[in-house]
């Protein structure tokens, strides 16, 4: 079956600067594909090229099997919808509802269908109560949700989402991820760029990491996590025995007080987390909780995108 999005050997130069270098990417139907990368990695340029706002220097793009350049821009743009990264991408003097009706009609919906669908999408993103309010009076988060509602007006085979959760509160971000998941469940391929590494766990099916325009990693979130073994943890302890934690962990880990019953644990080479925790428990220390101090995804990201 043809993948909704396939990018082959894509390059983009701005003068002497190579922003994208031989990028290959494939997003299958029903898949959420997270595109990660530090600032300047080329994520937004890639999305702008996919949306037809910028020409590639070299390479090929296929959406639903159609190669860019072989069909008109009008037909090309029927194959996807986009949530741009900017905060203000709607008309500030119009209500959220009127904005959606306008864009719905640009997507080819009849007036009746555009009105109906606009109401449904506003409901979906939790803006039904603010439907008749001018967008200029919306908060940044509400404007972002409106942009998401706009992308959902027509169920396209491909959704390009650029930093959708950037200015959203945790609940808004969660809702946005749920909406993207729903779209994927309906069969859409979702390309999701983000800087929020914490959100891809349990959400993205596939991750691509770009660094200076090059693909540095491609795989599942589990595969990404597997590229590092976390060595630093925060533990919360209850009762402490006669021996202090530092004495018990001699040779296993370095431990420092992090405050309020918490300790920072750095495993020494060769030591395992299980053995270290067992040493504490055997020494009469009650370990209430243990968690990674830096998420493994973040650690993997830093390792992949850090200076080589």
């Amino acid at each position: 079956m043809t993948a909704p999005l396939e990018v082959r050997a894509l390059c983009r130069r701005f003068g002497e600067v190579e922003v994208l270098k031989q990028v290959d990417l494939k997003v299958e139907a029903g898949e959420i594909h997270a595109l990660l990368g530090p600032n300047g990695a080329g994520k937004t340029t890639l999305l702008r090229i996919l949306a037809g706002l910028c020409d590639p220097t070299e390479g090929e793009i296929f959406i639903q099997g159609a190669r860019s350049g072989t069909i008109g821009y009008r037909e090309w743009r029927k194959l996807f919808s986009m949530v741009p990264s900017g905060e203000r991408t709607s008309y500030q003097r119009l209500s959220g509802y009127e904005n959606l009706v306008f864009f719905g009609r640009l997507y080819g919906l009849s007036r009746v269908a555009a009105k109906r669908r606009s109401g449904e999408c506003l409901e979906m993103v939790g803006l039904a109560d603010a439907a008749s309010r001018r967008v200029g009076l919306y908060s940044q988060g509400m404007q972002k949700r409106l942009a998401i509602a706009r992308a959902l007006l027509v169920d396209p085979p491909l959704l390009l989402i650029d930093e959708a959760t950037q200015s959203l509160d945790p609940e808004g971000a969660r809702l946005t991820r749920v909406l993207a998941k729903d779209a994927a469940r309906r069969g859409a391929a979702v390309l999701w760029t983000t800087q929020r590494l914490d959100e891809i766990r349990g959400f993205a099916d596939v991750v691509t990491i770009l660094r200076r325009g090059e693909v540095r990693f491609r795989g599942t979130v589990a595969e990404l996590s597997g590229t590092v073994i976390t060595r630093t943890f925060l533990i919360q302890v209850g009762a402490v025995g006669e021996a202090g934690p530092a004495e018990l962990l001699e040779g296993l880990a370095d431990i420092t007080v992090a405050g309020d019953g918490h300790y920072r644990l750095s495993l020494k080479d060769g030591a395992s987390l299980g053995a270290t925790l067992a040493a504490l428990v055997e020494g009469g220390i009650e370990v209430v909780a243990c968690r990674e101090e830096i998420s493994d995804v973040e650690e993997a990201f830093v390792r992949i995108t850090g200076p080589s």
Binding site: F14, G52, D55, M82, P84, L109
Partner: protein
């Protein structure tokens, strides 16, 4: 969800309706600007009526064998040139505004023909400006002792309708320049002012210096003005319409063709450079 059965042309025309509604709602939301526009128009008329007291009536050319006042002469000039100014500047400022408020990028990701975008940005003005001109002329004839020939209204409308595409073509060229150079308002303002001064809008041709008269005689704006005056003030009926239309139609074809071509060229250049939507 998209109605695939509708022919592309019908779909694109329906989008123009959406643009019209959007621009109408935005215009209505700026109530003060709307009122100020009308106030400014009437104020111009008041100023020119006062200036008219200083002008020797003998220096105003007769139209259709009838002696006319300076206010009558200039009313048609104000009406037509304010129409030209709006038609020219709105195309340009519409693109610029979309760039500045950040909506141009998104508009360009929607499935829309470039021509739909170009017409869509000004479709509201294509309706509003002729209505504004008509209402202005009606108010002027009511309150400023200007005797407009009612039988000239329809021929004047035809002249304007033939003239609109020509001006719109110029507007498209200026919008292409805005896409490319970002700021073009000053240049367009200058060109509009030059065309206005050198077209007998406010000053009779006979009062212009020789070089200016030579330019004015080949300026299409002059033909629009003299034809409109002949039908509205001179009672010339349909006679000037044929001449005006026969000149404006080929000019419009050329200006629209250059406009469409230059706009597409500008879009292609922006996509190649990757600067589309930037300001």
């Amino acid at each position: 969800m998209i109605d695939a059965h509708r022919p592309a042309v019908v779909e694109e025309i329906a989008k123009l309706g959406a643009f019209f509604r959007r621009n109408l709602l935005i215009a209505v939301s700026y109530r003060m600007a709307f009122i100020a526009d009308w106030f400014n128009l009437v104020l111009q008329l008041v100023i020119f009526s006062l200036v008219g007291r200083l002008v020797d009536p003998a220096r105003i050319p007769e139209i259709g064998g009838r002696a006319i006042s300076y206010v009558e002469f200039v009313t048609v000039g104000i009406a037509l040139m304010s129409f030209v100014q709006i038609a020219l500047s709105r195309v340009l400022s519409a693109i610029r505004q979309e760039q500045l408020i950040g909506t141009l990028d998104f508009l360009l990701t929607t499935p829309m023909a470039p021509t739909t975008l170009q017409i869509g940005l000004v479709v509201y003005d294509l309706f509003y400006v002729p209505i504004r001109t008509g209402v202005f002329l009606a108010l002027a004839s009511l309150f400023f002792d200007i005797s407009l020939n009612p039988s000239g209204l329809l021929p004047a409308l035809v002249i304007m309708l033939a003239f609109i595409p020509f001006v719109w073509g110029l507007g498209m060229i200026s919008s292409a320049a805005t896409l490319t150079f970002r700021r073009g308002t000053g240049v367009v303002g200058l060109i509009t002012a030059a065309f206005t001064i050198l077209s007998a809008a406010y000053i009779p041709l006979e009062a212009l210096p020789g070089w200016a008269r030579a330019f004015a005689s080949v300026n299409p704006f002059t033909l629009a003005l003299t034809s409109a005056r002949e039908v509205l003030l001179g009672g010339a009926g349909w006679a000037p319409v044929g001449r005006a239309v026969s000149v404006f139609l080929p000019l419009a074809a050329v200006s629209v063709a250059i406009g469409v071509f230059s706009f597409r060229l500008a879009m292609r250049r922006e996509r190649r450079l990757g600067t589309l939507g930037g300001y």
